[in-house]
Amino acid sequence: MTTHPILTHERRALLEDRIQVGLLGLFALICLFASIRGAGNYEALEDAATAFEAEHLEQAFDWRERVVAIESGEVAPEDDPWAGLAMDVAMPAVLAPGPLADFSPGVTDVHPFTSRVSLWRSVDRLFGNYQFQSPNEIRAGRIDLAFAVLFVMPLLMIALTFGALSRDRDSGRLGLLLSHPVSVRELVRSKLLVRLGAVFAILVAALLAGLFIGAGGIPDGERLGRFGLWSLASSGYFAFWAGALYWFVSFNRKSETTALMMIGFWVLNGLVGPAVLAAAAQLIYPAPSQLAFLSTAREVSNEAYRSRADVMQGMLLDHPELTVENYTIPEYIRVSYLVNETVDRAVQPVLEEFEAVQDRRQSFLSLVQYAAPAALAMRSLNEISGTDLARQVRFEREVRNYKGAIARHVEARVLAGERLTLAEVDAVPRYSFRERDLGAVGRSVLFPVGYLFGLGMVAATLARRNLARLQTRFREA
């Protein structure tokens, strides 16, 4: 007997089994819902970011127009003493949603993605007032394609495969089947090929649907590239599970024992592993206290304000060229600038420590993630999607540096109490976030994704060996 008739039989059996077809349909529905919700959330994020940027650029443009009016003589300087006030430079900094944020939203729902960068704000306040999302919603997590792939897909694979061999064993048909010229390996492989093939086909269809639904039409090159990597990573996770399930099936235990082993593995991989790894990372590398950071910033601000005369004196000693006698701008503006600058400098080490802790945690997780493939796959999918924590940390650091760049550009004018010229206004730096290039992301996830494929292959090899032994036992019997 060749494999072909078995495949045909299995295909027919699968299509006639209402429960299995229903489960496949349910998975397809969950994927579709995830794609539509993901696209909706992506659009909302993109709209919010675009609207924020447009509004603040418009304000910046209006502000620039006042400088134009002064320089063109349209308005007398004394009629608009605040026009071009260097301290008032304010620019938006926006983090657009990652290229595949609709597939895997990662940390986008809890972190700030917009900032109004202004010299009136010290760096600890650059991302104020964004914590309005529903805490219940954040806690529950999302139904996105990553969730469907990481958690729902393996459950479906378990439901379709746990009885692949054991049902025949339980019913006593296995011996009869193997009395035909067919090997147990071919039998199991054919069954898994048909059942898991159906899951994979839905996965591919769901990813393609997600690609087009999220893009709202034809996707651009960046999105296509990321999609290729995402598909590869999710295929790796599929291969890992396919291999693992093949291995469990090959033990040839009772149906319920096989199902229990598979569910137990799902729980260990998907729940216990990530929970333990996350707790370990945070226990071994505790973050500095956020409250202590807040207190430090306030204490420094208070101290700088109290000793503002000394701060001013220090500034004038450092910059004697700025000793202008006829200030027209109130002193509190320069004081605010210097106080904020003092705070920025004082909290810098704490912010660096926050980043260092995150780096250490990420390095730790990069090593131990291999113990929990669900955690590994999630981190890879987030990285490919552009929704990982490292990207967020980079954005926040860049915005702080951006504030520093603006400060350096206008500092002399702030301290001298002079307005900016139009040329200086136009030369105020702009912020734009640069995504990591596709090659770098690909190189970063190559090994973890390869590991998933490798695990799947190792498990499949072990399964083949088990089944060969089983075949021998049957022959001997």
């Binding site: 007032n129 309005f132 999302q133 439901a159 319920e256 929970a275 333990v276 206290s289 924590l389």
Partner: protein, 477 residues
């Protein structure tokens, strides 16, 4: 007879390596979760105590400053993490624990611990309540899937019938044995949490005793629901394999998918406002209609001036016996407070609508109802956070009034140049938060309690009907 059945089941569990393995894993997880929970809560409380002391010190030593400038610098309200959060942290990680009490603006709670957490923590948060909610039912299902179906398959059900065992005895014997083992685990986690939460430095939640009793009763009911569901499914299933598959489906739907799908659908049907948009509206609507250049704002300020002149019976602002700047600032506060009440009312309202929609899913997932009640009893749900936020807001208003009043009463003609000193700051009160009692905490979750009781009644009815049917079939056979 009931005792004999229960004893036999216990012996069987003990001999079953699968049960011992699952029990050991869950017990270890419970232990790790309890220690992790205690470590997190005690660290948060240590940091909060230090931040509270620092905030007071900074306030008291700010030196000479205009009271309204001080109102801008203002103080912080720090949310305590109470003892029962060791057991069920609920939303603790997803809501901020510090609210800035600045003038002119109602800030959201900032510094959410989830922002510092590693990404994979979102998959599975390791805490004692989560371990019981997710793994308690799994353990019960593993123990009971063959409770009736297995007896039938092996032919022992007929023997039991012949021995005169009544259905109710079988039902209770099996239920007691499974509940005993799971209860042992739950009691261990509860007692461990109780021991650790009484450690020094962790603040006690009002009515901790009744709340703890409530939690014990809640989990008793919750696990009993799953015990009878398992017995019912096992009794109605022809084979233990079918029972296992059915129960695994219920477990996945109830504990993994339900708690995620409910809030997701709720978020789609009743979306919370976009964070940047809400923050911008809050800032604009609280300030522009009062301080803006529009006609409405000008009229509003003129009305305030007219009111002040009428109140003090004078003709001009200069003739007022008070500082008019302070008076105007306080009027703007009172105007903005109305706006904040409306807007935060909308925000809390959207959270409430989402909760109400998500609650519908408790009809297919008792875990949702149990989570709601558990968080409410532990003082870590959205109501507890709202209570804190509202109390902090009330204090903010009184505090800003106190500072504005100082300027109104003593500022005289100096206006913004008027300064107060440390003697005044030291007299200012602290925000002293008192959490609500158990009556207030459970007011919002009565419907969840009713849903859980409905689940209990249904599960008992299903189990009783199933076992009776099983006996009748055996008798007929």
């Amino acid at each position: 007879m009931i005792r004999a059945i229960a004893r036999k089941e216990f012996v069987q569990y003990w001999r079953d390596g699968r049960v011992v393995t699952v029990f050991a894993i869950v017990a270890l997880l419970g232990l790790a979760a309890t220690v992790t929970g205690w470590s997190a809560v005690s660290a948060m409380e240590r940091e909060r105590a230090s931040a509270v002391a620092m905030d007071r010190e900074i306030w008291d030593t700010q030196g000479l400053k205009n009271p309204h400038s001080a109102a801008h610098f203002s103080r912080y309200a720090f949310q305590p993490t109470f003892n029962l959060a060791v057991f069920d942290p609920g939303l603790t990680d997803y809501v901020g624990n510090a609210i800035w009490l600045e003038a002119h603006y109602r800030d959201p709670a900032a510094l959410r611990p989830i922002e510092e957490a590693v990404e994979i923590q979102r998959i599975a948060p390791l805490n004692p309540a989560w371990v019981i909610q997710i793994f308690g039912p799994l353990l019960i299902f593993v123990l009971l899937y063959g409770a009736v179906a297995g007896e039938r398959e092996s032919g022992t059900l007929r023997q039991l019938l012949a021995a005169g065992v009544r259905p109710v005895s079988l039902l209770l014997g099996k239920a007691i044995s499974a509940f005993g083992l799971t209860g042992l685990l739950v009691c261990g986690v509860l007692l461990g949490s109780a021991f650790l939460m009484s450690a020094e430095g962790i603040e006690r939640l009002p009515d901790t005793g009744p709340r703890a009793v409530g939690l014990a009763a809640l989990y008793l009911v919750y696990l009993t629901v799953f015990v009878f569901l398992a017995l019912g499914v096992s009794a109605f299933s022809a084979r233990s394999r079918t029972a296992l598959v059915g129960l695994m489906g219920i477990w996945i739907a109830a504990t993994i998918l339900g708690p995620r799908i409910g809030p997701e659908v709720a978020g789609a049907l009743a979306p919370a406002p976009s964070a940047p948009e809400f923050a911008a509206r809050l800032e604009q609507e609280g300030a522009d209609p009062f301080w803006g250049a529009g006609e409405e704002a000008v009229q509003r300020r003129e009305q305030v001036m007219d009111d002040a002149l009428a109140e003090y019976g004078v003709e001009t602002v200069e003739a007022l016996p008070i500082n008019y700047d302070g008076y105007l600032l306080q009027a703007s506060e009172e105007f903005a407070n109305g706006v904040f009440d409306t807007m935060y009312g909308e925000l809390w309202g959207s959270y409430e609508r989402q909760r109400a929609i998500a609650r519908v899913f408790a009809l297919i997932s008792p875990t949702i109802a149990a989570q709601n009640v558990s968080m409410a009893l532990a003082g870590t749900d959205i109501h507890a956070h709202r209570h804190f936020a509202d109390e902090a807001e009330e204090f903010r208003r009184e505090f800003v009034l106190l500072l504005n009043q100082e300027m109104i009463d003593h500022g005289g003609a100096e206006g913004y140049a008027y300064v107060s000193g440390n003697d005044f700051w030291r007299q200012n009160p602290d925000f002293d938060y008192a959490a609500p009692g158990i009556g207030d905490a459970v007011r919002g979750v009565w419907s969840d309690v009713i849903i859980l009781l409905l689940w209990l009644a249904t599960a008992i009815a299903v189990a009783a009907a199933g076992v009776r049917r099983g006996f009748l079939r055996e008798m007929a056979a």
